[in-house]
Symmetry: C2
Subunit: 337 residues, 2 copies
DNA sequence: TTGAAAGCGCTAACAG
DNA sequence: CTGTTAGCGCTTTCAA
């Protein structure tokens, strides 16, 4: 009589087969020291033989914990739409690793609406124990609203010490400083900032740039505002700028590597030499950046550490803590632009 | 007396407040026609006012359905490790959209081990109703094993009509044909295939290439085997090939865009002209491909459709069907290589 | 159209 | 170390 793998469904079945009680089976599965090793092994062997595993929904219902974290990420509609997509995927990856270490599941969500309510529901309906937001979007009103609720969450985005919620983000200011210093070393004087000052992270980078340049009284910043941070936007903005205005510039600090690459292409199309005529620095150090036409000088963020920090801080919140926002170090990667 | 938002926890509480019974509240939440609209509105209003939402774990336990699909994806350890990462993230994105349309949650997992058992546990423990595998890895023994169980799953990978499980994949053969035809039109004769024949998808592409070239008896394929499909691997393989062997070639079909870009860089380093001396075709049409030093000619796969198909077929399996494997159309994007 | 009763599969509290 | 009891919050009968 071959022990057919009839997937038994309940803990009671296993208990009966192992001639123990249900709680003992339960303990065996959570590796409790309260159960005798021999008993435990027998139970686990029987369970495995019958294809049994603990029903996680009953477990979640009973314990009132889901061991699940929701990660909310703006997924790009088209591959070209969102210039920093590769960066966010890398970050997702690193967050996934952090959760995996803590044996938590990762529920991937797109933002339903930028409205605190839908996230409150996510928690009160016990789909997840907490939320990690990858990117805070243009305005963070909804995040402020959310911070007034009891929803445990952390955010990747611009770090602001006064913020009412916990954020982990690139040291944008330092990133700007590094770019400014580099330009100064190269003797550049007119820096075009291709970004968007209403975007908090961008503004921080610009401030860093400005402060690094202060010692050199000759240096100045020219702003070129762009609505988003894609290759195409960078290219067309640059082409337009070259066609119409003529404030001279010899350096460019771009809001993202994608923008920087667009800018470089526009520059080359206009017969400007990079870096001889114009020096360009990007942001993020996308994997592509080093293989670009002109291997790109850029500011790198440590996503590995970012992922760990996001997870760690969320768990501190689970434990009743109120972890401070933190900045992740930033470094300049000097290549050929 | 302000109705404070004390988050009530159970359906019973809401039932009491609305002066109805628990089942009525349950019906109201699932928009059942059995409940009078006025009653329903009243219930929903009360629930919302008190921050109540249905406990999804109790729901899942009771109904024995999770409304969740696990997506298993090899997350790259380092950004440069896995050349096709951007492609898979795009695919993830499109799968997410498909699941969202069907109001299912997406549980993101890395492969625990390439062993059927861990996936059986995922289903028998009721974490998810089914699994979508993004990429089948080098061998698919574990997938064959899994297909002998009752685990509902579909796979993105090489489509093989004889396979025991449902696969959705690029029309690799057609992709190869398109590349071969293009080379033929350009009058190329010696095609270097930079790929890995033990990888089913690669082998299919090579077969397509070969069949397209058959009419031109002069044309021939030279194989350059590589272990993985990253930029660096492509570059070093090409550099090595140029240094040692000297079978002449005037065209290259690469296993991925990342490889193709690595190959192009090696070619240019060796003072070969692209495309004058060597024509190069990649695979995947990564967003970067068009912005590369030489905008890359490549084979594009329709991930949007792929995502929809994967989800659709999984749902057919849920409904007891046995959907056939399908191929997603493939097209050549002619740029400058 | 609504309600009463039963039970999904599990774990925590307590007793031994 | 192991067992008994109770109940997590919900939906599904079935009855009214």
């Amino acid at each position: 009589m071959a022990a057919r793998k009839t997937n038994l469904t309940t803990m009671d079945d296993i208990a009966r087969l192992a001639k123990v009680s249900k709680p003992t089976v339960s303990r065996a599965f959570k590796d409790s020291p309260l159960v005798k090793p021999a008993t435990k092994d027998r139970i686990l062997a029987i369970a495995r033989r019958h294809g049994y595993s603990v029903n996680s929904n009953a477990q979640k219902l009973r314990t009132n914990r889901t061991q699940t974290v929701a990660v909310v990420m703006h997924l790009p509609q088209q591959s070209t739409e969102h210039g920093s997509a590769p960066f966010f995927f890398q970050l997702l990856n690193d967050v996934a690793r952090g959760l995996w270490v803590r044996r938590h599941d990762l529920l991937l969500c797109s933002p339903e609406s930028d409205d605190a309510y839908s996230y409150e529901v996510m928690i009160s309906s016990k789909r997840a124990d907490g939320i990690i937001f990858l990117g805070q979007g243009p305005g963070d009103k909804w995040l402020k609203d959310l911070s007034r609720t009891s929803v445990p969450f952390v955010v990747w985005g611009a770090v602001d010490a006064r913020s009412s919620y916990c954020t982990v983000g690139s040291d944008n200011k330092k990133g700007g400083v590094l770019a400014g210093q580099r330009f100064m070393e190269m003797g550049r004087e007119h820096v075009l900032f291709v970004g968007n000052r209403s975007h908090p992270e961008m503004e921080q980078r610009r401030q860093g740039l400005e402060s690094a340049m202060k010692p050199a009284s000759k240096m100045q910043i020219i702003d070129l505002e762009i609505p988003d941070f894609t290759f195409e936007t960078g290219r067309t903005a640059m082409t337009g700028y070259l066609a119409h205005k003529h404030a001279p510039f010899d350096a460019i600090f771009a809001g993202s590597d994608a923008v920087a690459m667009g800018v470089v292409v526009a520059l080359l199309d206009a017969k400007l030499r990079v870096p001889e005529d114009v020096s360009v620095i990007g942001y993020n150090d996308l994997p592509i950046a080093q293989y670009f036409q002109r291997p790109l000088t850029t500011i790198r963020q440590d996503t590995y550490q970012a992922g760990s920090l996001l997870v760690e801080k969320l768990f501190q919140i689970f434990d009743g803590g109120k972890p401070p926002s933190t900045t992740v170090p930033t470094e300049i990667v000097i290549r050929q632009t």
